[in-house]
């Protein structure tokens, strides 16, 4: 007896919904094994990692705050991935967006008006979009591989940030610490709902909902899906692959840049050498776990944010390295991609003598 994969005639809607849940269950199982192997009670570990952060208000708030940039970046990446544009550089677009957004409060700290914050957000989105257009233009003109170029530009962006906070943008009154001056109140994104939540969160949810409608109901959304699945059919429909590459990269970069600006003007209130715990990379997992669907991405963003908080929790409570968070994130992506096979294939128990590679020929 052995397992065989048999191709389905159509994609299974049930499996499309179940696959992320199976993946999460398998990830929890793998995490339990890791806890057990490193000498901890796996049940306690799982509880501290996945459940406890949900039981306290402060950790719930922290989870939502971390989920916000993940969801915003994930939504943009979903548009890229749906249209077959492999933007891996959202981390860099996030950083450059934060730099563009910070230019105003760092270089012109006296400019404080109601227009300050909106201008910062616009600059941030522009900066992220421009950074994302680099790999898109290279892809269109020189046929370069956007996976490599967008990824490499992450390190360029991060070195530019490092240079700026140690050099020209260093806080003159900051005792030579590598950090920019603190933002004025006019440059800080306010909290809403009685101070429990940054305005960034509702902005993100609105953007996700708008994108969900665009993808599901409009001709642009149709174009994105067609191009992703079958570029030849897309060009037969009269859509331009090159224009869509520019569009999807600019959109994803813009949203990542907006997330970067909201992060520095929300939690940090200044630029530091490190402003992101890898949001741009984690958002790739968010996008896939969320089925490349903005509504799903809202849920997935929350799950992945939980892994950051849970990682800190098991570190402080049980002395497990907080690298466990990265390990679990990686396992999750692995299981999601593996389980997605079940959308187009089903598993069959085969008797021993059947040869491999047998599929219905109809």
């Amino acid at each position: 007896m052995r397992l065989e994969l048999v191709k389905r005639k159509e994609r299974s809607r049930t499996m499309a919904l179940l696959s992320p849940l199976i993946a999460i269950a398998l990830t929890a199982l793998a995490a339990a094994i890791i806890f057990a192997v490193s000498g901890h009670n796996p049940l306690v570990g799982l509880y501290k990692f996945f459940i406890e952060p949900l039981t306290q208000q402060w950790s719930l708030q922290a989870t939502i705050a971390k989920a916000t940039p993940l969801v915003l970046i994930g939504c943009g990446l979903a548009v890229c991935y749906l249209s077959n544009n492999w933007n891996i550089g959202a981390e860099g677009q996030f950083i450059v967006g934060a730099l563009f957004g910070s230019a105003l409060p760092v270089m012109f700290p006296e400019f404080q008006s109601t227009a300050t914050l909106p201008l910062m957000l616009v600059f941030g989105a522009l900066g992220g979009a421009l950074w994302a257009l680099l790999p898109a233009v290279l892809k269109n003109w020189f046929n370069t591989n956007e996976i490599l170029t967008s990824l490499m530009l992450v390190y360029v962006a991060s070195l530019i940030l490092d240079y700026l906070v140690r050099g020209p943008w260093r806080d003159p009154g900051g005792y030579n610490f590598p950090e920019s001056r603190l933002f004025s109140d006019a440059a800080i994104i306010p909290n809403v709902f009685g101070g429990t939540m940054s305005l960034a969160t509702p902005i993100t949810i609105v953007i996700a909902l708008v994108l969900a409608v665009v993808l599901a109901r409009t001709l642009k959304g149709f174009e994105i899906r067609v191009m992703g699945e079958s570029p030849r059919a897309g060009s037969f429909a009269g859509f331009s692959a090159k224009r869509l590459t520019l569009f999807s990269f600019a959109l994803a970069g813009g949203l990542a840049g907006l997330a970067g600006t909201m992060e520095v003007s929300g939690g940090l209130n200044q630029l530091l050498p490190t402003i992101s715990p890898g949001y741009g990379f984690t958002a790739i997992i968010v996008a896939f776990l969320g089925r490349l669907n903005p509504i799903g991405i809202i849920v997935a963003g929350f799950v992945l944010a939980l892994s950051y908080i849970g990682g800190e929790a098991v570190q402080s409570a049980m002395g497990v390295s907080n690298k466990i968070a990265s390990v679990i994130q990686g396992l999750l992506l692995f299981f999601v991609l593996a389980c997605d096979t079940l959308i187009l294939y089903r598993i069959r128990l085969a008797s021993h003598q059947a040869p491999s590679g047998e599929t219905a020929h109809v």
Partner: protein, 515 residues
């Protein structure tokens, strides 16, 4: 159902009650088949009738779920293709598996269990290929060879293993009539030496001409056996389909020819990739009321010509005019708005997106043609669903449930859908590449009739096809494409197969260069 016993002392292969199931589908249901020595045995059936499944079991790439295979009277389990070759069963595939960068002898050596020394093998190839009238030069690089010669390599490769049964899957679909004639001589020679041939083909004329016996499959079952020489293509077709196939009526053969609707003038384009074909000064006037067909062997520029006319490959503005308006550099959407419509050769992945539902695939080509499918950037799902139901009914598209994904439809049904999607617009100019490629007889007749009817209603129809039966059935004028040159379109009644064959084999090129 006639079920005489044909097995006797000459029996080579005797399949009894072969059954193969894929999930819910019974691909082969209790199939009995007897192949005798020296017999050219046709296996006929519509797409999905189970022909490929059956021959794959003979060749060892599939295992039967029930029944048994007797080879020369002994029961055998054919576990894999190597075991089949061991027994003496060879197969020539429809799609060649040759390495373009290697030469003939290297390609053949790769497929043999013990190729031996290359120089010895080259000699054997030369002598075997000469013996059977399939001359090959062992040192030729495959990339430089035309399709007909590539097929010879596959056949010679098969012959070197001295098989007693050769299975051929649609061998003539890529050949010119003259090349096909050459192949038939080879097959007859093989048969006279006692080798059996199991021959799968959709071309009933040639089955009638060369096959000694035919087994007809429908829905996985053997429905009848016959001597094809005593049948007509029409009776063979009705056995396959299970009903009489409506013959296509061309209506008034001398149509009311109107003004030019599509004009190609000196259409020229460089080859975009090393494997593409350049278009060389192609000129053609397509007039209202007529069906013009372009014949030719695959890979002679048909795809490039289609892309240029549709707008997927832009050319200079004056090279293409639709209803007088220059549009060589305009987008495909612009051309559709001028009432042009296009059906590409590849159904899945070009004409339709495999993972999208049929209703969504309607939006693919009709989002900008004023059908009310979009308003304010939003797609109207209700309108798309309505059109899907209409086209499904009008063109008899059969499906297991409502509005399925395109990939789940059979080839013939999907073709009816993609042709129906364009015909539903009543286009002024329709360009179709391979309208009935791999489509069963019933669906093919329906599509051909619809093309003629469209032309008779005042539109201009351009058909690019490799199927000469189809071309002679529906065309008012016929042109031939060869290496990117197009011969002058001549009235169908002045053309015959020999003349088309000569043009296919390079005559069109000579004519195009003179013009």
């Amino acid at each position: 159902m006639v079920q005489q016993t044909r097995s006797g002392t000459d029996t080579l292969l005797d399949a009894r009650g072969l059954t193969k199931r894929f999930g819910d589908i019974l691909a082969n249901d209790n199939v009995d088949l007897v192949i005798n020595k020296g017999e050219i045995h046709a296996l006929l059936g519509e797409n999905g009738a189970g022909k490929s499944t059956l021959v794959k079991m003979f060749y060892g790439s599939l295992q039967p779920d029930g029944g048994e295979i007797l080879w020369q009277g002994k029961r055998v389990d054919i576990g894999n293709p190597a075991a089949a070759r061991e027994l003496g069963i060879g197969m020539v595939f429809q799609h060649f598996s040759l390495f373009e960068a290697l030469n003939v002898v290297e390609n053949i050596a790769l497929a043999l269990p013990n190729p031996g020394r290359m120089s010895d093998l080259a000699e054997r190839i030369e002598s075997v290929s000469r013996d059977y009238g399939l001359p090959l030069n062992p040192s030729d690089i495959v990339a430089d060879l035309p399709v007909g010669i590539r097929q010879r390599i596959e056949i010679v490769r098969c012959l070197l293993q001295e098989p007693q049964l050769i299975i051929m899957d649609e061998p003539t679909s890529v050949l010119t009539p003259q090349e096909a004639d050459q192949l038939f001589l080879t097959l007859q020679r093989l048969a006279s030496e006692g080798c059996a041939v199991l021959y799968i083909s959709h071309r009933l004329e040639e089955v009638k001409r060369i096959c000694h016996h035919a087994t007809i499959l429908r829905h996985g079952k053997v429905v009848s056996e016959c001597n094809p020489a005593k049948e007509t293509p029409a009776t063979l077709a009705s056995m396959m389909v299970g009903a009489d196939v409506a013959s296509v009526s061309a209506g008034a053969r001398t149509p009311q020819i109107g003004e030019t609707r599509l004009a190609l003038s000196n259409l020229t384009a460089r080859a975009a990739t090393p494997f593409a074909t350049a278009l060389n000064g192609i000129s053609l006037d397509l007039r209202a009321g007529e069906v013009v067909s372009i014949a030719g062997v695959a890979g002679n520029g048909q795809g490039e010509l289609f892309d240029a006319i549709s707008g997927e490959m832009p050319v200079a503005p004056q090279m293409i005019r639709i209803d007088g308006k220059p549009c060589g550099s305009k987008s495909i959407t612009w051309r559709r708005r001028q009432l042009a419509a296009f059906v590409p050769e590849e159904r899945l992945g070009h004409g339709a997106v495999p993972g999208l539902k049929l209703s969504q695939n309607i939006v693919l080509t009709r989002h900008a043609t004023g059908d009310g499918l979009t308003s304010g950037g939003f797609v109207s799902t209700a309108r798309a669903n309505g059109m899907e139901k209409h086209i499904k009914k009008e063109f008899d598209v059969r499906m297991s449930h409502d509005d399925p994904e395109a990939r789940s439809l059979s080839g013939g049904n999907l073709q009816k859908f993609v042709v129906g999607r364009e015909l539903d617009r009543q286009p002024g100019v329709l360009v179709v590449n391979q309208p009935t490629w791999g489509v069963d007889a019933g669906a093919a007749a329906l599509i051909r009739q619809a093309l003629i009817d469209l032309a008779r209603s005042g539109s201009a129809v351009l058909v690019i096809s490799q199927d000469l039966d189809e071309i002679f059935e529906i065309s008012d004028r016929i042109a031939v494409i060869s290496r990117g040159y197009l011969s002058e379109a001549e009235p169908a009644e002045d053309m015959n197969r020999e003349r088309v064959g000569l043009l296919m084999a390079g005559g069109a090129e000579a004519q195009g260069e003179v013009a």
